[in-house]
């Protein structure tokens, strides 16, 4: 079984009290038994997309077999520059997806996000989006062919922890996937996701180094989910979305 953590942060953020590089992340991944980790750079996500994505690229070069990169955008308000950055991240840096953050005050559920979604479709980028179920419905309602992964599956403050609502949204949109990284460890969460959506639309993530990865992993493997389904959730799905083989 190939184990891939689809939700990892790298770099620095005083707000999130994080300062971590690839070496530390790979060491932790070794302890957990993860083959690869999908990283987003915090500088790119919250400050400067060019600087942060370049920093991530350096870390990807240092650990080419372990670190997969998400391009990150700090905002949807940079127009063509953001689209060019995504192109650069794909062609020059070899990144395999987009990570983007949304808050109630700076929601990505607005028209300015639609060209970014369309660009991701053309680049075959899955989009790990820190969004609410309602935001996902808006985005996929406009660009249904985008592959959207709802970061935290509703288990984040802006979505009020409502993973049941996340499942309902995913039932409506076949290209909506759920990320398992949440500070919520409600019993029955994964079973409910699999029962409603099947195992193909769930991607395992930990949100390292914000969250403790051990309960994040345990809440997936210590369930009544069949091994073949776990194989997809723990790595197969994110590899497929990123167009990679095991």
């Amino acid at each position: 079984m190939t184990m891939i953590d689809a939700h990892v942060h790298i770099g620095k953020s005083t707000r999130l009290q994080i300062d971590v590089d690839g070496e530390m992340l790979v060491r932790w991944a070794d302890e957990l038994g993860f083959d690869r980790i999908c990283c987003t750079d915090l500088t790119a996500l919250f400050y400067d997309m060019h600087e942060g994505n370049r920093l991530l690229y350096e870390q990807m070069k240092a650990f080419p077999d372990r670190i997969l990169g998400y391009a990150s955008l700090s905002s949807i308000r940079f127009g063509q520059a953001a689209l060019d950055e995504l192109e650069r991240c794909r062609q020059d840096y070899g990144m395999r997806g987009l990570k983007i953050y949304s808050t109630p005050d700076m929601s990505i559920a607005e028209p300015a996000m639609l060209p970014i979604l369309e660009k991701c479709v053309s680049l075959e980028f899955p989009i790990l989006a820190h969004t609410t179920p309602q935001e996902c419905e808006y985005l996929l309602g406009h660009v249904p062919e985008a592959k959207l992964i709802m970061a935290h599956a509703g288990g984040q403050p802006f979505a009020k922890g409502d993973w049941n609502r996340a499942i309902i949204a995913a039932q409506r949109f076949e290209n909506l996937y759920l990320d398992t990284a949440t500070s919520t460890i409600d019993a029955g969460f994964l079973e409910a996701c699999v029962a409603a959506l099947g195992p193909e639309r769930i991607a395992f993530g930990t949100d390292t180094p914000l969250l403790d990865p051990w309960p994040q992993l345990t809440k997936i493997v210590e369930t009544r989910i069949p091994p073949a389904d776990l194989d997809l959730i723990l790595g197969g799905n994110i590899l497929r979305l990123m167009g990679l083989r095991r």
């Binding site: 979505a159 922890g161 500070s183 919520t184 460890i185 409600d186 019993a187 051990w214 809440k219």
Partner: protein
């Protein structure tokens, strides 16, 4: 011995829960019924007492609320003697679910002083489980209440991260009667950091099971980078001491 200081019996009103009993790996569990939280605290306590009579591994905590119901003045007092006779070992308060302000209700002070006199720990949750949809108690209220009753044996529950953990840590360092349970602590390396800051003597293993994933919460302690002695203290020895168990 592994003792879960924050477990439940009863139904969960918001979504289906996978029942596993104590199969997540603990030997004993301090419980209260969710009926106490969501329906009627006295009825719930009767359920709690009954469950503990039927299963000697369970330890009853009484959930107390106001005696003034249906707009009537309280015509009786709390019967602590009856609770003691039934083997209750501690008290839980859920003001955010019982529609009272704990700083402005005289009965709360009465209950806390009675708990102090009897040596019963008082579990006070910031949130019932780590789900962003659950109502929160104000951090300032917790601090004020703890400082108003410094001789009470406090168990601060439902603490997650950042400012919440900073308040709890401050109170732990100020007052040896203050303890923290671990069911909602989800941050990276948070347990090890807490031990480093406060020692292990005031940390109690808790899960929120069966509503939360018990095994995931246990794994968090088992994998924490702490000494074996600290781990043993957190997993059970501290709680045994507080509850006067062998």
């Amino acid at each position: 011995m592994i003792l879960d200081i924050n477990a439940f019996i009863g139904k969960w009103p918001y979504w289906p829960v996978v029942e596993n009993g104590l199969d997540y790996g603990c030997d004993r569990a301090a419980i209260c019924s969710t009926r106490s939280v969501f329906v009627n605290w006295e009825d719930g306590n009767r359920e709690t007492a009954r469950a503990c009579r039927e299963d000697g591994r369970l330890l009853p905590f009484a959930c107390l609320g106001t005696l003034e119901l249906s707009h009537g003045r309280a015509a009786r007092d709390y019967d602590f003697g009856a609770y003691a006779a039934q083997g209750f070992r501690g008290i839980r308060l859920y003001p955010q679910h019982h529609t009272y302000h704990p700083l402005y209700q005289a009965w709360v002070d009465q209950v806390l002083e009675e708990a102090r006199a009897r040596g019963w720990p008082v579990l006070l949750p910031l949130r019932i489980i780590m789900n962003w949809g659950m109502p929160l108690l104000d951090l300032g209220v917790i601090e004020t209440l703890v400082k108003r009753h410094p001789a009470v044996t406090w168990i601060l529950a439902g603490i997650n991260y950042f400012h919440e953990l900073q308040l709890a840590t401050t109170l732990l360092l100020q007052n040896p009667n203050v303890h923290i349970e671990t069911s909602c602590i989800m941050g990276f390396d948070a347990i090890a950091k807490l031990v480093e800051q406060c020692g292990s003597g005031q940390i109690l293993f808790g899960t929120g099971a069966p509503i939360q994933h018990g095994r995931a919460n246990l794994e968090k302690i088992l994998r924490a980078k702490i000494s074996g002695a600290d781990r043993d203290a957190i997993l059970g020895a501290n709680a045994c001491h507080l509850l006067a168990l062998d």
